[in-house]
C-alpha cells in the first residue's frame, strides 16, 4: 500500500470516492431512461372499463378500430345483440356464455389489481431513483475533493484577503469582504455584514458556510 495510513485500506480517499461517483452515475443512467419512455407509463385501466380520457380513445381508434366498440351503449341495436338469448336453442351454450362473462369479470378485476400493484412497484423504483439522485447531490462535491487538493497547503479553506468597506452610495452600510479558496478552487468572495465582527467565533463558520454553498452551486452547474 502506498497509503498505509488510510482508513479505507490500500486504496486512498481519491480512489474510493472517484469510483463511487462513476458508479452512482452509471446506476442513475441505467435507471432513468426507463422512467422517460412512454411505454413505461402504467396502463390506464379506465380505458378498459370504458372511462378513458379522450386522447387515449382517439389513439386507440386510430390504432385499432375496436376502440369504437366501446361506444356500443349508444346504439340500441348493438345493445340488443348483447342481450340476445340463445338458450332456447341451446342451453349449454347459454351456460357457457355465462361462464365466459363471469370469468371475464374476474379477469378484469385481477388485471386492475395487478395494475395497481405495478404502479406501487413503479413508485418504489422511483424512490430508489430519487435516492440515487440524493446520493449524487450529497456526495459529488466530496468526491471531487481529492482532485482539487493538489497544493501543499494543509487547509481545506484558505483566507487570502479581508477587506472592510466603509459605507458609500453603493453600499450604504459597512461590509466585510472575505476572499477564500476552498481546496484548490477559484477564489470565492464572501460578503459579510459589518455588524458581524470578524473576531466573533461564528464569523468564520458563516464565511465557510457561504463559501461552501457557492462552491457546491458551481459544482452542480
Amino acid at each position: 500500500s502506498i497509503l498505509p495510513l488510510s482508513p479505507y485500506g490500500p486504496l486512498g480517499f481519491h480512489d474510493v470516492f472517484q469510483s463511487f461517483l462513476e458508479m452512482i452515475h452509471q446506476a442513475q443512467q441505467a435507471m432513468d431512461p426507463q422512467f422517460h419512455r412512454p411505454a413505461f407509463q402504467p396502463l390506464d385501466m379506465d380505458f378498459m372499463r370504458g372511462g378513458a380520457d379522450n386522447r387515449t380513445v382517439c389513439k386507440e381508434i386510430r390504432h385499432n378500430s375496436t376502440g369504437c366498440l366501446r361506444m356500443k351503449d349508444q346504439c340500441e341495436k348493438c345493445k340488443e345483440i348483447l342481450s340476445v338469448d340463445c338458450s332456447t336453442n341451446n342451453p349449454a351454450q347459454a351456460q357457457l356464455r355465462q361462464e365466459l362473462n363471469d370469468s371475464l369479470q374476474v379477469a378484469e378485476l385481477l388485471t386492475q389489481r395487478y395494475n395497481d400493484l405495478l404502479q406501487s412497484y413503479q413508485r418504489k423504483m422511483l424512490s430508489t431513483s430519487s435516492l440515487l439522485e440524493q446520493l449524487n447531490d450529497q456526495f459529488s462535491w466530496v468526491s471531487q475533493l481529492a482532485n482539487l487538493t493538489q497544493g501543499e497547503d494543509p487547509a481545506y479553506l484558505h483566507v487570502s484577503t479581508v477587506t472592510t468597506r466603509t459605507p458609500d452610495s453603493d453600499t450604504p452600510s459597512q461590509v466585510t469582504e472575505v476572499v477564500v479558496k476552498l481546496f484548490d478552487s477559484d477564489p470565492i468572495t464572501v460578503v459579510m455584514p459589518g455588524e458581524f465582527p470578524k473576531d466573533n467565533p461564528k464569523f468564520m463558520d458563516t464565511v465557510a458556510e457561504k463559501a461552501l454553498q457557492e462552491y457546491r452551486r458551481k459544482k452542480r452547474e
Binding site: M48, C58, P154
Partner: protein, 205 residues
C-alpha cells in the same frame, strides 16, 4: 496595507477549515444513511415483487379461463345467427356514425382514413365477437401484453442498477469501520491533512 496580519489570516483559515471538515464528515455520514435507505427500499421492493408475482399468476389463470370459455363458445354452432345478423346490420351504421362523430369532434385529424378502416373492420367482424364480449377480451389481452412489457423493462433496469449498487456497497468504505479513530477522521483538521488526501504522485516522489 493588509487589514489583518498573516497570522490572523492563518487563524481564520484554520477556523473555516474546521467548519468544512465538519461538513465533509456530515456528507460521508449522510451517504451511509442513504445507503441504508436504498437497502430498505430494496427490501420493500423485493416483497412487493413477490406479491406482484402472485397477482400475475392469478391474473393469468383468470385470463386463461376466459380464453378457454371463449374457444369453447366459438366452437358452438351459431344458433342465433339470423337474429344476430339482422341486429348487427342495424348496429353497424349506428356504431360507425357515433364513432366518427366522436372522432371528428374530439380527435380532429385523419377522419377519412379512420372511417375507411372502421368500415372494413365492422364488415369483417362477426356479431358473435360482439355477443361474446370479444372487445373486452381483446382489451384484457392487450393490457396483459403491455403489463408484461412494463414489468420486464423495470426489472431489466433494476437488475442493472442492483449490480452496480451491490458492487458499490460491498466496498470497504461501507463494510469496514476503521479501527483507528484518529485516522478514521480523514478530515481531522487542523493539525495535518491526512496522507491520502495528497495525490499519489507527490507521496511517491
Amino acid at each position: 496595507d493588509p487589514l489583518v496580519s498573516d497570522s490572523e489570516l492563518q487563524e481564520m483559515s484554520t477556523q473555516g477549515s474546521k467548519y468544512i471538515d465538519k461538513e465533509i464528515q456530515n456528507a460521508v455520514k449522510g451517504v451511509k444513511e442513504i445507503k441504508n435507505l436504498i437497502e430498505k427500499t430494496n427490501e420493500e421492493r423485493k416483497s412487493l415483487l413477490s406479491t406482484l408475482e402472485e397477482a400475475k399468476k392469478k391474473k393469468e389463470d383468470a385470463l386463461e379461463e376466459t380464453r378457454d370459455s371463449e374457444i369453447k363458445l366459438k366452437a358452438f354452432p351459431e344458433v342465433c345467427n339470423e337474429t344476430m345478423m339482422a341486429l348487427w346490420e342495424e348496429c353497424k351504421p349506428c356504431l360507425k356514425q357515433t364513432c366518427m362523430k366522436f372522432y371528428a369532434r374530439v380527435c380532429r385529424s385523419g377522419s377519412g382514413l379512420v372511417g375507411r378502416q372502421l368500415e372494413e373492420f365492422l364488415n369483417q367482424s362477426s356479431p358473435f365477437y360482439f355477443w361474446m364480449n370479444g372487445d373486452r377480451i381483446d382489451s384484457l389481452l392487450e393490457s396483459d401484453r403491455q403489463q408484461s412489457h412494463v414489468l420486464d423493462a423495470m426489472q431489466d433496469s433494476f437488475n442493472r442498477v442492483s449490480g452496480i449498487m451491490d458492487t458499490l456497497f460491498q466496498d470497504r468504505f461501507f463494510t469496514h469501520e476503521p479501527q483507528d479513530t484518529h485516522y478514521f477522521s480523514p478530515f481531522n483538521f487542523p493539525h495535518r491533512r491526512p496522507h491520502f488526501l495528497y495525490p499519489k504522485s507527490r507521496l511517491v516522489r
